[in-house]
């Protein structure tokens, strides 16, 4: 079992849900608006006057076998337009 946390520009939401479905992942936990900024580069997403964009976040627990294809698709998506902002982190958990 693996956990994957995806933090992304709100505008990506539908595309990411799409990717999940194509990767046969069904269950997720979703926060519609979260704020945050990256550690290295990219614009902060704070929803305030200076940085008006906002992020959404997904927490997914899925079988190990499903994770690699999801990661690959997410990477592709991020590479298409880096300015939007999309980050994900995975770790192993006890089921």
């Amino acid at each position: 079992m693996k956990a994957i946390f995806i933090s992304y520009n709100q505008a990506y939401h539908e595309e990411i849900i799409d990717i999940m479905e194509r990767s046969q992942i069904r269950g997720y936990t979703y926060w519609e608006t979260v704020k945050g900024k990256g550690s290295f580069r990219g614009e902060p997403h704070l929803g305030d006057h200076a940085w008006p964009t906002l992020n959404s976040a997904l927490l997914i627990f899925a079988d190990d076998s499903l994770i690699p294809s999801l990661k690959a698709k997410l990477k592709d998506l991020d590479a298409k337009s880096e300015a939007m902002g999309l980050r994900f982190f995975t770790w192993t958990i006890d089921s």
Partner: protein, 1034 residues
């Protein structure tokens, strides 16, 4: 779910809602009536009281003063003026604009009930007349005929007047200049005395012989028949053979002592059209009815009515008020269309994409159409005010849409899908576009709460622009995101042509950006220099250009209509007046090729012609109605033509006074005039002051018309009966004066009926027996026993001078001197001259003076507007302070306002246009428009600072990035104003001032704002940082 999210998710619903708005808007556009101005409620009520036999001063003391004192406490009263003439008192109550006419009328009625008991016993009940600017006739038709004249009055009544009067909204149709048919019995006084007859006995015999009397009914056999005497005259010639007396077995017929003429009334108002005798038909509308729709209906009916008339009778149009209104509104509509195209072009040049341009431009028709729905629903009209508000709004409605679209584009370029980008990008800017719309509402909503005349003008402007702004905000937050999500593409292809053209434009904008960034970089390091030079510019323009600026109330509107009133010495005979009028007409037609129709009327008006009899009329008074060709077809404008006519009229020695009025009459759109009211009880003193002001004013070469309101003393013959002598002859004053009247003025003996119409049969002396004073002295008066005595034995005829009408204003005797503003002056110049002249006169004690008329209206309106501006400034400040949560930023932004004033002054002085109410409206709007640029700049500077940039760096970066949107919104507004400012169409003089002030004010203030606001920001931010550091050090 937010508005934009819903809109993007449900594109069909969204689209259809806006389609519905558009459809309703188009429907309203077709239904909306047209008018020149917003409807102004009645502002004057006349109280007319007849008191027969009283002289002007009796009337003043016994009737007018009583009425004035009683009516003075009616609420909302602006002025109370009165005219006391022989037999009649006319008290005019002038109300503040916007007073409810019904309430005012009731109020007056209540007061009159109380006053009635204090009026003299013989005075008739006071009668109320409601008058408003609406009562100027909307159509004047001319009637010319060769042969049909004797029966013309009846023909016209049946065939034209009655059908026209049935049209909905027509108030009254009256015929003037066409005499009525009368049967005259002209008696020979010598024959009368020979047969011992009198005018009265003849009249009574005629009356008794002209009868139809039902005599009851009789039963004959099985039937009942009614019995009647049917002996009315069937032909006027029957009169000749009436037996009026039988002496010594011989019958005396009427033809023996009198001649019978089937003719026209003797004294009438005559009308000439282009020097051809004819008549005029005057059509007035009911108060509140729409002139354009009425005259449209009248004009469409005319051809069919003309067919029913005898072939030699021709109808023509002398004046059609609606022509000018329709043309004015049309040229304004054209202006709006041009504005729309210009704005579209600007947007396209800046955005460089057809789809984006389309999305943005779409908000214009939708918001304009929405405001038309409001206009229709609230019962307003398409008029100069409502349409120019539309024109003003065009340039501003795109602003919100542009902000939204630009942000969506940024998101899409960053890689977001259009649908998501539309929602999230709109979300980001929603607050800021709502705030900027609120700023505009802070300017325009207060306008809807103003009272009085200013209120009438501004209420529509306020509502219209507010609604347009709100709808454009909604459309920017719903329609624009929806369309963007559907129409914008992630990557759009560019054609080669497109690349070439927009390459150039983009390079231009880029170099402008760089230049501006450099300028800003320099400015933020030379703050004191920049700020002090700005101060110098402001003060210089205020103190050097300011005094050069002239003011007026409303621009004089060129409606191709000239009215001239000419007074000859009182008592001038009608034939002399007529001859002079003809001469003037000939001279005018020769000298003024611009004249299309020249109509004049002279003579005493018939009392059944309400319109004519309310105006000044008499055998010595001529009134001209002249229509000249459209402004586009002539070189001289109306004011120049009027000025030249005045010069020409000075050449006729017979003319005592005259006034030439061009254009609209009354407050709005008329040629400006200065009215000096001189108050004082003593006639001689006030007359002397008035005369000396007049001569002083006339000594100025360019002033060519000064009129004193008080008339001269009128010469009259008074028959003074000696009561003792009358008594010795068994007579009294009443009997004697009735005899006199019956012989000179005539007595109506009976009515002659023909085809359902009645004509008076008048018995009087034949004209040749009432031409000299001897004739009058020879009149024989009979007493009860039938003994005659001549007038000369019981009375003296003396010549006397009757004092003129006594005019009062606000319960004091007044004489007003009215000077027309000449073409090369503005109202303010003439006011200055008049003030100087009045100050140079040594006023006798008890005499005061004041300005009235246009100047008074102007002053009160300007005072209202200035109060309004202060209110608007405070509101704008509050909205901005709330938006920025700061007191310094709004202050910095508001620095651009003084420069808007500089721009307005410069624009008006350079174009030599006086400051009018319309340009004041422009100035008022500028308050909201100019701060928008400041808001955009400061907002972005703040953003850059929050993103961690230093003050100077933030200012330059923000300037660089915001120059484009600022230029774009400014250009759409300024270029949108150009068609208004440069308009040459009919009526364009009305809105030119407004266009000029907005275009100039916004341009100058934007140029200055771009430098001064960032610099000022630096000063405040720098101080803030210093203060912060000091605190930290402590």
């Amino acid at each position: 779910m937010s508005l934009y999210q819903t809109a993007v998710k449900r594109p069909i619903t969204t689209a259809l809602i806006f389609v519905a708005i558009a459809i309703f808007g188009i429907f309203s556009l077709m239904k909306l009536p047209i008018d020149l101005y917003p409807e102004i409620d009645m502002d004057q009520i006349m109280v007319v009281t007849y008191y027969a036999g009283a002289s002007a001063s009796d009337i003043e003391n016994n009737v007018t003063k009583v009425l004035e004192n009683g009516l003075n406490s009616v609420s909302n009263l602006k002025h109370i003026t009165s005219q006391s003439r022989e037999n009649v008192s006319v008290v005019t109550l002038e109300f503040n604009y916007g007073t409810d006419p019904d309430v005012a009328t009731n109020d007056i009625r209540d007061k009159l009930d109380v006053i009635k008991s204090s009026l003299p016993d013989n005075a008739e009940n006071p009668v109320l007349f409601k008058f408003s600017t609406d009562d100027i006739p909307i159509l004047i038709l001319s009637v010319t005929s060769q042969e049909s004249e004797p029966g013309l009055y009846r023909i016209l009544t049946d065939a034209v007047v009655n059908p026209l009067a049935r049209i909905n909204g027509v108030g009254a149709v009256s015929i003037s200049g066409i005499p009525k048919r009368q049967i005259m019995v002209y008696c020979d006084p010598y024959k009368l005395s020979a047969y011992n007859l009198s005018v009265e006995s003849i009249a009574s015999v005629i009356g008794k012989n002209n009868r139809n009397i039902p005599s009851g009914s009789i039963d004959i056999g099985s039937n009942t028949y009614s019995l009647r005497v049917q002996q009315e005259f069937t032909d006027p010639s029957e009169l000749k053979n009436i037996v009026i007396s039988s002496t010594g077995g011989k019958n005396i017929y009427l033809k023996d002592v009198a001649t019978i003429k089937d003719t026209l009334e003797e004294r009438t108002q005559e009308a000439y059209v282009n020097n051809k005798k004819g008549g005029i038909i005057i059509i007035q509308k009911q108060s509140g009815a729409n002139s354009v729709s009425i005259s449209k209906q009248v004009m469409s009916k005319l051809p069919s009515l003309e067919k029913k008339l005898p072939s030699d009778v021709k109808l023509g149009v002398i004046i059609n008020t609606s022509d000018n209104i329709v043309n004015t509104i049309d040229s304004l509509k054209e202006t709006i269309l041009i504005t729309f195209l210009i704005v579209m072009l600007v947007v396209f040049i800046f955005l460089g994409r057809w789809r984006a341009t389309f999305i943005i431009i779409l908000t214009i028709p939708i918001s304009l159409l929405a405001s038309l729905i409001y206009l229709l629903a609230s019962g307003n009209t398409l008029n100069i005010i409502s349409l120019s508000s539309l024109s003003i709004a065009i340039g501003m409605v795109v602003d919100d849409a542009i902000v939204v679209l630009e942000n969506i584009t940024t998101h899409i370029e960053r890689g977001s899908r259009p649908a998501q980008a539309s929602v999230y990008a709109t979300n980001e800017v929603a607050i800021s576009i709502i705030a900027s719309t609120l700023t505009m509402l802070a300017v325009f909503l207060p306008l809807t709460m103003v009272q009085g005349m200013t209120g009438v003008l501004f209420r529509q402007l306020g509502w219209t622009v507010s609604i347009i702004m709100l709808v454009s905000l909604i459309s920017a937050m719903a329609l624009v995101p929806m369309l963007c999500s559907k129409m914008l593409k992630l990557k759009h292809k560019e054609s080669k042509f497109h690349r070439v053209v927009f390459g150039v434009i983009n390079r231009g904008i880029e170099s402008l950006n760089n230049g501006y960034a450099k300028l800003l970089g320099w400015a933020v390091h030379h703050r004191s220099l920049v700020l002090s030079s700005a101060l110098v510019i402001f003060l210089a323009s205020l103190f050097i250009l300011g005094p050069m600026m002239k003011t007026e109330f409303f621009p004089a509107q060129d409606n191709s209509r000239v009215t001239i009133n000419i007074k000859l010495p009182t008592g001038t005979r009608q034939d002399i007046t007529r001859a002079l009028s003809k001469r003037i007409t000939n001279d005018f037609i020769r000298d003024y090729p611009e004249i299309e129709v020249c109509n004049f009327s002279e003579g005493s008006a018939n009392s059944d012609n309400t319109f004519a009899s309310l105006r000044d009329n008499g055998t010595n008074i001529i009134s001209f109605n002249i229509r000249v060709v459209k402004p586009a077809k002539r070189k001289r404008n109306l004011n120049e033509i009027c000025a030249s006519m005045r010069k020409d009229l000075h050449k006729y020695p017979l003319i005592r006074t005259f006034s030439v009025m061009g254009g609209q009459q009354g407050g709005m759109g008329g040629q400006g005039s200065v009215e000096i009211d001189i108050y004082g009880y003593d006639f001689a003193n006030t007359d002397a002051v008035a005369a000396s002001v007049k001569s002083k004013l006339m000594s100025n070469k360019s002033i060519n018309q000064v009129v004193i309101s008080r008339d001269e003393y009128t010469p009259e013959y008074h028959v003074v009966f000696n009561r003792e002598k009358l008594a010795m002859n068994g007579l009294d004053i009443t009997t004697a004066s009735t005899y006199l009247r019956n012989r000179v003025n005539g007595v109506t003996a009976s009515e002659y009926r023909e085809q359902g119409d009645e004509y008076d049969i008048i018995v009087r002396y034949a004209p040749q027996f009432r031409e000299s004073l001897e004739d009058i002295e020879n009149i024989i008066i009979y007493n009860n026993s039938g003994n005659g005595v001549r007038v000369r034995d019981v009375a003296d005829i003396v010549e006397n001078m009757t004092p003129p009408t006594i005019e009062r204003k606000d319960r004091e005797r007044v004489v007003s001197v009215t000077a027309m503003v000449p073409t090369n002056m503005a109202l303010s110049d003439l006011i200055q001259i008049a003030t100087d002249d009045m100050n140079s006169i040594d006023l006798p004690t008890g005499i005061t003076w004041d300005f009235g008329g246009t100047y008074e209206d102007q002053q009160s309106t300007y005072a209202d507007i200035i109060t309004l501006m202060l209110l608007v400034l405070i509101l704008v400040f509050i909205v901005m302070a709330a938006e920025f949560e700061s007191l310094t930023y709004p202050f910095v932004i508001m620095l651009s306002i003084p420069f808007a004033l500089v721009g307005v002054i410069m624009g008006l002085v350079i174009n030599n246009t006086p400051l009018s109410v319309m340009s004041m409206i422009g100035l008022l709007m500028l308050l909201g428009i100019v701060v928008k640029n400041g808001i955009v700049l400061i907002d972005y500077i703040r953003l850059c600072r929050e993103r961690g940039l230093g003050v100077a760096h933030a200012v330059v970066t923000a300037g660089r990035s915001r120059l484009r949107p600022v230029l774009m919104t400014t250009l759409t507004t300024v270029l949108g104003m150009l068609p208004l400012a440069m308009g040459r169409g009919e009526g364009s003089e009305m809105w030119r001032g407004m266009g000029l002030s907005v275009a100039w004010g916004l341009s100058i203030s934007t140029l200055v704002t771009l430098v001064i606001v960032p610099t000022m920001y630096c000063v405040f931010a720098g101080n803030g940082i210093k203060r912060l550091r000091k605190k930290e050090l402590k």
